[in-house]
Amino acid sequence: MMIGPSRQSDRKAKVLFGLWAVLLISPYAWASGFSLNDQCPPSFALDSNNQCQLRNLYQFYNSLQDQGLGGLKTALPNHRDGFSPQQIDLGRLLFFDPVLSGNKDLSCANCHNPALGFSDGMARSVGASGQVHSRSAPTLWNSAFLKSLLWDARANNLEQQALGPLFSEIEMGNNPEQLLANLNQVEAYPGLFAQAFPSSEDALVIANITTALAAFQSSLISLNSPYDRYAHGDSKALNPDQLEGLNVFRSFVARCSQCHTPPLFTNQQVAVIGTPEPEGMARDIGAQATFGAERLRGGFKVPTLRNIALTAPYMHSGRFATLREATEFYTKGRGHAVPEGEELLLHWHISEPNLTATELDRLVDFMGALSDESFMPKIPEQVPSGLLH
């Protein structure tokens, strides 16, 4: 039997070579005790190209024009995947590492806190030097499915999005030169980048930072809520209140599902709905700036409602403290919160549905059935910079 032993020795040689290669290219990573996971996160299959491919039950279904919009048994929109396990894991370390901010004080996870639905529990987020942002931090769950990112839809992919907060003066307050210098000073990072990007000659570059962050963010999958079990076929997965809420949600009186369309619970469009800004804050023109279109003044991307119960307060500038208040906004009358003299072209589905108090309660009950954190990533106990506190 020649085949067996020769295979075995092949494997041994590979392992030895692999170990040697790791030691050679990432002495720091090895020495510092950080190494990258070679397995995909839950919900991903590792293919033969060392890429993680998303698997979920919605892949059993089709959708009209492959747009990922519809009812219960409908496919999701196209998603980002295909990152390596090492890129995802490096992204995870970077995500929690305050060394990414200019003053090494703020990590991505400060505003996108896993314990708060990857948001921060604040109406408007606070930057590295204490500046109050004009907008609320959106959840990162299921961002793999989004065609555009940021409230005003100005980023077309996760990589482009990541550049925003990193280099914004009122967010992480860094700049490319300083970011690279700071990461290079952390013993482990050059080796970890080399491990995650083995074909890059110089692995520690901005593009690889944003790729790793995109890789991690696209691994945040939440598709196993009670609603999902109902959608796939368990008629008892929603309690009677939640079921009643679902029927209000998709009714053409409340019309919630017309924009928060299943299965992602967003249709990914920009909508002008006219929520009030916080006291004293000027009107945020939103997508008008992105598209240079006055008709989109005050327009924002329709957010997903998955895990919405975890991410109070609500709306782009966090004006509503509770989900109940945010829901009630829609029944108080078209344009009721638009100040006099303000011209907004309100979305046609902003109507006067006259929902009852009970219907509002049931809608809140239903949205509570969209929560699922079963694929919560592991939060690192320490990050390569040692700055986690």
Partner: protein, 499 residues
């Protein structure tokens, strides 16, 4: 439209009108629509054209009879795919939702008395469905606040012979579905569209009577639709083919509007402020807005005071949003023979202004505003027209080659190989709690494999109704929402897993 463009347009169309006007003395060329070339574009199915949208059942399931005073929803919950629900004459005040496949929900008509769903002006929608292969027939629906019948992503549906009176926003509204038939319904008194096909494909709307509504029949952000043999009268607008910007599905194309009566649609607009249809001028027969490849053939269009046919682009509508992803123009409008009488007798200022640029006064059968790339018409001399100077002569005269755009055999279903099915379910669900080696939340796959080696049936039985086995582990939620095929696939997949 800004003023400078308007002025340029006036000059260009004036010049065009003058040149055309100088040729007016020759006898018109009459194109016969009897015989001749048939339309060769449109939806190309490999299969033969379909008879209906829902396949005939080879075997009947159970029949559930609902009597006056019973709950229709209770019968829906008791029904299995393949079953029929017969609702006896009587009054039912409830919202019925069908979240399963292959249910036929049939009202029983006895001596003219129908099963009546009455929303009492306080219930939201009468019938909602999300399942595939749904048939809804013979109901009378009235006084709901939302929709009469609404589909959300169900494919292969038939909605027929319902009478929907004075019911909220839309009478019949299938959305995000493929392959549907809406026929023989009588719908009136609707605040938006009596029949609204929204973001759907392969639709046939035939033999319906729609009246006293803001819009009669609306085909919006949808493709491959035939609207034929309907009577749309006394609405604000009769039949519409639209692209509404800001919706996630961006196109409308390949729509045939033929052999309909489109009569006296002069009802004052009572659409909700801000709604798209609230901008439709009363007196609109057929309206094409930003939709492509629309064929208008064989209709009797008469007595619509603004115009018989209006073709325009998004710039004409000032109340709608901006959407960089939606093409604002109506391209390739094709107008074949129609009978058009007494349209545009009291038209709106916007149409008058465009007419004036061509020195046209009086009645208006057809008006086109905006670019009209690839549009054509036959026998243009018959009509009172404005803005169609650049329409070519169509090189076909009829759509006889197309019976319908329904999908023979039904909408395509995703075919999943059993091995793929097991992997999807394992990774998509189980890996939240189970890893191959070592405890995550539940026991490792290795431990499970040791317990159920060679016994996937045992594992299926367990995941259907889990019982607590280990003291220091949380209870496992039942996975009974997965169908039997998926349960077996995932059990076999887990037992075969090697890492």
């Amino acid at each position: 439209m800004n003023n400078r463009i308007k002025i340029v347009l006036v000059i260009i169309t004036f010049a065009g009108g003058w040149i055309l006007g100088s040729n007016n003395n020759t006898a018109p060329v009459i194109t016969s629509s009897m015989g001749g070339a048939s339309y060769a574009g449109g939806y190309q199915a490999d299969q033969q054209q379909a008879e209906g949208a829902v396949a005939l059942r080879t075997e009947q399931g159970q029949v559930h009879v609902v009597n006056d005073g019973d709950s229709i929803q209770a019968a829906v919950e008791a029904a299995q795919p393949g079953d029929t629900i017969q609702v006896m004459p009587g009054t039912y005040s409830e919202t019925v939702y069908i979240d399963k496949d292959d249910i036929h929900l049939l009202g029983v008509i006895q001596g003219g008395a129908r099963a009546t769903m009455d929303g009492l002006s306080k219930l939201n929608d009468a019938i909602l469905y999300s399942g595939n292969n749904i048939v809804i027939e013979n109901f009378r629906i009235t006084k709901y606040k939302g929709n009469g019948i609404m589909g959300q992503a169900g494919n292969n549906f038939e909605i027929r012979n319902n009478v929907i009176v004075d019911t909220g926003i839309y009478g019949i509204f299938p959305q995000l579905g493929t392959n549907g038939l809406v026929e023989h319904n009588v719908v009136s008194g609707i605040e938006d569209a009596a029949i609204y096909i929204g973001m759907s494909d392969n639709i046939h709307v035939a033999y319906n009577e729609v009246f006293d509504s803001v819009a009669g029949i609306e085909i919006e952000n949808s493709r491959h639709a035939v609207v034929e043999n309907n009577n749309a009268h006394n609405n604000t607008g009769g039949i519409l083919a639209f692209v509404t910007p800001g919706l996630p599905i961006k196109t409308t194309y390949d729509v045939i509007i033929r052999n309909n009566f489109v009569l006296d649609n002069n009802t004052p607009n009572f659409g909700a402020p801000g709604s798209i249809v609230s901008g439709i001028p009363a007196g609109t027969g057929i309206l094409v807005m930003a939709a492509d490849d629309v064929i208008i053939e064989g209709n009797i269009i008469s007595g619509n005071k603004t115009a018989g046919i209006i073709v325009n682009d998004h710039s004409f509508a000032t109340t709608i949003t901006m959407d960089v992803e939606s093409d604002p123009n109506s391209d390739r409008t094709m107008i074949l023979d129609n009978v058009m009488l007494n349209n545009g007798y009291d038209t709106i200022a916007e149409v008058k202004a465009v007419a004036l640029t061509e020195l046209h006064t009086g009645l208006v059968d057809i008006v086109h505003v905006g670019p009209s790339e690839g549009s054509c018409i036959i026998n243009r001399h018959r009509y009172r027209t404005v803005g169609i100077g650049d329409y070519a002569d169509c090189d076909f005269t009829n759509t006889d080659s197309i019976d319908n755009y329904l999908v023979a055999g039904g909408a395509e279903r995703r075919v999943i190989h059993p091995s793929e099915r097991g992997e999807i379910a394992y990774l998509g669900v189980c890996t939240g709690c189970h890893s191959y080696t070592g405890r995550l939340i539940g026991p490792s796959v290795e431990v499970i494999q040791a317990m159920y080696a060679g016994n996937p049936e045992g594992l299926v039985a367990y995941i259907n109704a889990p019982v607590k086995v280990r003291d220091n582990f949380p209870p496992m939620p039942a996975q009974n929402y997965l169908d039997a095929e998926t349960q077996m696939a995932v059990a076999e997949y887990m037992l075969a897993l090697e890492k």
